[in-house]
Symmetry: C2
Subunit: 341 residues, 2 copies
């Protein structure tokens, strides 16, 4: 962690405060928060997985809809989701904050609450090993780097899908984007969104996505998937990415899509096509992966150990390139990817 970029005493106090809040360091962490850099012992016999992803105010979150704790949680979640998508197990995180002067000390503390709450979850366990704090003359930005590991033959990429593979997705899609639209609609009416009910649950998916850390690691360890990625920009975008990287096409069966009833209802009332909205909505942070028929036994093992995370077959990889949606027996092109805000 670098000193002094915010302002020397303030930033140093903040780093000392963060350091005091981080749980006891694991044995592999040789140097943690407080020096020029973190030093770690690599995981023996494993490949290292590295990802970085930033949340920017008014691009990825709105401080009227997300609490500081939600933002801290989500900044880690989107990175854990990337590690899961590679079949990896997360290990450490670096937290880089750019803080507007309007952000108060207790809000930084709340942001850290959210970050550390997810970092301490049983499946996501990740050690905050360092980072950086600077001030921002504009938006709040939270940039997180996460490393993880996987045995060499357990790494999942986007490029391994083959024609005939089944396409699966974890959890549910469309909920986060329906939830965000609902929050915005309430704001536009000048009313406050309630904390209860099915739409509040959708809004919670936008605020605090649950990265599928356990499922990702299980898919890798059981070598059950030929391709995998996480859904940050919508299912349609993900399907297209896997198909392109694998040199294939894909068919998605509209009737099979795990779209929560509340989100479907919301889209219908909103006057938009519910299926197209759900598959193009962002922020799902579910895993999209492909499984050949001969690996169905391996997938069953993954499902058994997934602690109730739904895993749904939604289509099939095709030889013919391009992605399409099969709805009521009719083919239609997949919509474009999600553009945040």
């Amino acid at each position: 962690m670098k000193p002094g970029l915010l302002n020397s005493p303030g930033e140093r106090d903040l780093i000392a405060h963060i350091r005091a809040r981080v749980p006891a360091a694991p044995a592999w962490l040789t140097v943690g928060i407080g020096d020029d850099a973190a030093v770690v012992q690599p995981e023996r016999g494993a490949l290292e997985i590295l990802t970085t992803d930033a949340l920017v105010e008014d691009v990825h979150f709105d401080r009227r809809f997300s609490s500081p704790a939600d933002i801290g949680w989500k900044a880690l979640a989107v990175n854990l989701s990337d590690i899961a998508a590679m079949g990896g197990t997360p290990r450490l995180a670096l937290l880089s904050l750019a803080l507007p002067v309007t952000v108060e000390a207790h809000e930084i503390d709340s942001l850290l609450d959210g970050f550390l709450a997810l970092a301490g979850e049983q499946d996501a366990r990740v050690t905050l090993a360092g980072g950086n704090i600077t001030r921002s003359p504009g938006p709040l930005m939270v940039d997180v780097t996460v490393t993880g590991f996987a045995r060499p033959r357990h790494v999942l990429t986007r490029g391994g899908a083959r024609p005939g593979d089944d396409i699966y997705v974890t959890g549910a899609i469309g909920a986060a984007s329906a939830g965000l639209s609902w929050l915005r609609a309430a704001r536009a009416r000048g009313s406050e969104a309630t904390d209860e009910g099915a739409m509040a649950a959708c809004a919670a998916r936008h605020r605090r996505p649950e990265p599928r850390v356990r499922v990702g690691a299980l898919l890798g360890r059981n070598r059950a998937a030929t391709a995998c990625m996480d859904l940050s920009d919508g299912l349609a975008d993900g399907v297209r990415q896997i198909a392109e990287a694998s040199g294939t096409g894909a068919r998605i069966d509209a009737a099979a899509l795990p779209i929560p009833a509340a989100a479907l209802d919301f889209f219908v009332r909103d006057g938009v096509d519910p299926i197209r909205s759900a598959v193009s909505g962002g922020d799902d942070y579910e895993l999209l992966f492909t499984v050949p028929r001969r690996f169905r036994g391996r997938l069953a093992t993954v499902v058994r150990q997934s602690r109730g995370v739904p895993i749904t077959r939604i289509g099939e990889i095709t030889r013919e390139p391009g992605g399409f949606l099969l709805r009521d027996g009719m083919r239609e092109p997949l919509p474009d990817g999600f553009v945040h805000f």
Copy 2:
């Protein structure tokens, strides 16, 4: 690298473009740019060093003074400097960009030019393995993560200095802050700073610091230093950090400080105390380190292999806590650290 946060086609094109510009991947890079995360084989028998540091527009740079290529260079340089400060050898970088819509495609390309120019330097050689691109509703932000490695007994921290150790610094101090003040003064007068002369050379130190990658790795490999850190927030700040982390104090000899004559002259003409300005000015990115007398032979080895980087003895670690400056036989407290902008 995550898709779609800027806008799907634009960001994807940009990632493809970056990917095409990155030199051939080394054998240890299993998965590079273009998947959910990078995958690498760890360096055998070494500890891993990780750091992240962000440059924020109007906090760390001014686009009127620094070209996009300067910004790209510096964003990597400040991270390489952290790896050097730990005695490490850099290995890979992740580049996270938050781009205002006012930044044009050719400017992003120039930023990448600067980044890759430094990444390709013989001593700094580092592989761009992934990253993230998003838009920014405010300032341009460049957040870089760099990993490096060092043998376990070669890692340098801030906390190992002992009373009686000599204090050394690489290169020169005060040049970058004098150069930045000079650029600002020219701007305030409504004139353009020239590209020639000693003050332009100082401005170049602000724009494109040379991280002391080779010296840092040599200090680690030769086990020549008891403590080391890099100077981002001024020498005075660095001395205080090492003294605090080591539970000691420090005496700095004003007459020994390697301050370029042009910077001294500039500070005098500016009506400020030249010594205090030089030791409190930020952006030096030199290495500050401590060497016990018995390691002088090891230090001589480092100096011989440092390819002409000046290494100057500037003071001594003291038992008595606190840092002070010895000037003309008089003691004065060290000034406070540098606050960027």
